[in-house]
């Protein structure tokens, strides 16, 4: 060991030094599927590389750009696939037709002073993965999926988002043919901010519609998942 700063930076972070059953199970399923000819190792590698590089950064960047440039906002709403390319996302990747579960019909829903948008997939967990990354755990739960379409105000309140009655809530149900993301309005207190500063406050939750961007807030709400409870039978 030396006391040089660069050596210090190279210190390896802690790792799980144990082979877990889950790690072994994932390998076993994959190997058996490949051996049975269900898919090839090459196909699996391509989809895994795709899964490794997706995240919410391009979507946040797209919204920040739209806030700064009205022409880009028009493009984003009229031709969302073209606007996605400007933030580095090609919806046709990784197969030339997108992934099997990410169809290439994509629409951006712009909030207005009187309409708030929120996305859900009532059927399963369709999500705009190429531009927003993997969905959070709670998005996949029946609790969120079934209740958001019925009681959106109540579910949004559980995320800490209380909307006044004069704002209507538009719940957009994704499906295997259409993917959506929300373009929230630029919040107060961000005058003079550049694109990087604005992109930082456009969190994943804001792009789903369960939060509103706010100067100084750059993290998502941590939400416990729980089983579905009907309001009429709760308590």
């Amino acid at each position: 060991m030396t006391d040089h700063a660069h050596d210090h930076e190279r210190t390896v972070k802690p790792m799980v030094d144990e082979i877990t059953d889950f790690e072994v199970l994932e390998i076993a399923l994959r190997e058996l599927c490949i051996e049975k000819g269900i898919f090839t190792a090459e196909e699996h590698r391509r989809f895994t590389e795709f899964a490794e590089q997706i995240g919410p950064t391009p979507a946040a960047r797209l919204v920040a750009k739209a806030w700064l440039d009205p022409e880009f906002k028009k493009l984003a709403l009229a031709e969302p696939m073209t606007a996605s390319e400007e933030v580095g996302v090609d919806w046709m990747e990784p197969t030339g037709f997108g992934t099997p579960s990410d169809f290439t019909a994509f629409q951006i829903l712009a909030d207005t002073p009187t309409v708030h948008n929120v996305i859900v997939c009532a059927l399963c967990s369709c999500y705009p993965r190429p531009i927003l990354g993997n969905s959070p755990e709670w998005y996949r739960t029946p609790n969120y999926r079934r209740r958001m379409v019925r009681w959106p105000r109540q579910v949004l309140a559980e995320f800490g988002l209380y909307l006044p009655d004069e704002i209507s809530i538009h719940v957009q149900d994704s499906n295997q043919k259409h993917r959506f993301m929300v373009m929230p309005m630029r919040p107060e207190g961000t005058d003079g901010w550049n694109e990087d500063q604005l992109a930082e406050i456009v969190t994943r939750d804001c792009l789903i519609g369960v939060a509103l961007p706010k100067a100084g807030v750059t993290t998502n709400v941590i939400t416990d998942t729980r089983p579905a409870i009907h309001p009429g039978t709760a308590g």
Binding site: K13, P14, M15, V16, D17, E18, I19, T20, D21, F22, E23, V24, L25, E26, I27, A28, L29, R30, E31, L32, C33, K36, I38, F39, E43, H44, R45, R46, F47, T48, E49, F50, A51, E52, T95, T99, P100, S101, L123, C124, S125, N134, E137, R140, P142, Q176, T225, P227
Partner: protein, 113 residues
């Protein structure tokens, strides 16, 4: 579909779930390292879903929802996603339970060699 599968039950009981492992070794990653490979596996399966008996995207997710809420309700995400997928593939006869058990043993031997 809800019948217990012994090989998977043993995995559940050993409980090497990521929150436990991460805490034990002081690791900060929110999800286990095999998660992206599992995502690749699900996408590859969805693409193959036209073949006989391979669950479609919707069937796979529906079965995952049911199994995660019942047989595997004690597992966190994404362990419940992985084990539910394994359960679906065994229950549908795509993977034989004995074959899976043997493969789990041989992979562990390989990784520990």
């Amino acid at each position: 579909m809800s019948e217990r599968i012994e090989a998977l039950q043993e995995i559940v009981e050993r409980n090497q779930v990521w929150p436990v492992m991460a805490a034990k070794y002081g690791v900060e990653n929110p999800v286990p390292p095999w998660k992206t490979s599992l995502d690749g596996l699900c996408d590859a399966l969805d693409r193959a879903a036209c073949n006989e008996n391979i669950p479609s995207f919707k069937e796979r997710r529906d079965e995952e929802d049911v199994l995660s809420a019942t047989v595997y309700s004690n597992l966190p995400y994404p362990e419940n996603q992985l084990v539910s997928l394994a359960h679906s593939l065994v229950a549908r006869g795509i993977i034989d339970e004995k074959e899976l058990k043997q493969r789990l043993e041989s992979i562990r031997e390989r990784l520990e060699a």
